[in-house]
Subunit: 290 residues, 2 copies
Amino acid sequence: MRETEIVEQIRLQALSGHHDKALIRGIGDDCAIVRPRAGEDLVFTSDFVLEDRHFTLATHSPAAIGEKALARSLSDLAAMGAEPVFCLVSLAAPAKLGGPFVKRFYQGLLRAADRYSISLAGGDLSRFDKVIADVTCCGRVPRGKALLRSGAKAGDRMYVTGKLGAAAHAFAAGRPILPKPRLAAGIELRKLGVSAAIDLSDGLSLDLARLCAASNVSAEIASNRLPVARHATLDEALHGGEDYELLFTAAPQIRIPAAMSEIGVVTRKRPSHVLMDGHPLQSKGFDHFA
Amino acid sequence: MRETEIVEQIRLQALSGHHDKALIRGIGDDCAIVRPRAGEDLVFTSDFVLEDRHFTLATHSPAAIGEKALARSLSDLAAMGAEPVFCLVSLAAPAKLGGPFVKRFYQGLLRAADRYSISLAGGDLSRFDKVIADVTCCGRVPRGKALLRSGAKAGDRMYVTGKLGAAAHAFAAGRPILPKPRLAAGIELRKLGVSAAIDLSDGLSLDLARLCAASNVSAEIASNRLPVARHATLDEALHGGEDYELLFTAAPQIRIPAAMSEIGVVTRKRPSHVLMDGHPLQSKGFDHFA
């Protein structure tokens, strides 16, 4: 199958999927064209998924790779409290996997795109000796309302959505699970007026330190408050990556849904210093170049 | 060097570079935040550069790889007649190249970003066994004014900016040259009201067929009108990729700058059928999955 035919198939698949009205022109020209609405900010993020790094061909089907590629990037929109608008998908794959692989990758990606109401607007397609994908997602928020990492204030309470450690535990057991970006929770938290948020992609201990550094605050958390996933260890909940839950902070008077767990408080001690049960918590999350 | 320190270095480098006012928040949060102006459309494109496919570590310095990655993507903005706004850069590199490689890649990319007035807004950084980069560029055009591939009409004249075949010739001689995106030309052509445009990334014969297919027209070109680059062959001018000049069409009454070459006319024969000197011209440009 030639590249032109593959691209045409993807274009037709994309046309039958979710269509955001802001997307004036999708796949088929040099660029996609987007007409922003008045009174909104747009937010943007890009995320890689790389063979033998974020997935293997043994553990992930082509469709699962496509879904994971999109979900990782969508999770960053969730952390901003943004509503998905469109994505650009760059995919490279070995010639021997060819058209069928590409087609199934996009089927998985587009199924997830429909579920999360995001339009596929374009991207790039190339041949390479490994499977690699880079997904750029665009989301919208009312002007000035994006949730930032830098808004946490001393006295705020600290929370996480969902359970922690499930992804690390499943990965260790050889049954990796696909990320579920917390888009609905992100939008709800933005409307509630929480003060700061970050998505947990690299592990609570590292992402918590990042949020504290960005806000120039410190934090104290309690291990017995952590919502550890069933079967997972405390270590997996603290340092395991890829949970894609949201970590956020909110002023004490804000009523947070009961399904979310309060894990500690924001303090004004040494910036980015995190204490758990009164002892310093080391960041052991995933560092690509450590 | 840890990832956090590398990202902080890139953030500081980016801060001292070109800053588009629409970019409210750049590197450092889960997403970049952009505040669109009223009355403008935004255009988006993503392009890979992959080791041993678009460059090798023997022929390209880290800075040249960074510049090429950005320039390839900017060329798509040029084809829409767009003004650059911001880019997201996803880079993966082997751990053994480490921080110094990443730093030099971004130095080259940011030097080019300054030259073309585009802001680095974010991206992703990962470790991988080869060097790969994916650059998403955003540009702006007045509402409804983007140049499309699909606007060519029978009777229009067909033109190219600059010379053709130089990139293929230099590549064959082992001295690859860096793309120079034709952003100023694209904006000028948009203001002149040309009917269609595409950038020549995969070779004139293939990109011309793409423009004709998108516009549902055919074309007749004359070999003696082609602006063949010095030392390059007609074959290199016709089928060589990576010239990154613009191919465009315009109604006969539009005055096109003399530095651009008229190479033929748009006709209404069999759609996407291209004749050169009266004979069918085969598309031999680069197809990733052929």
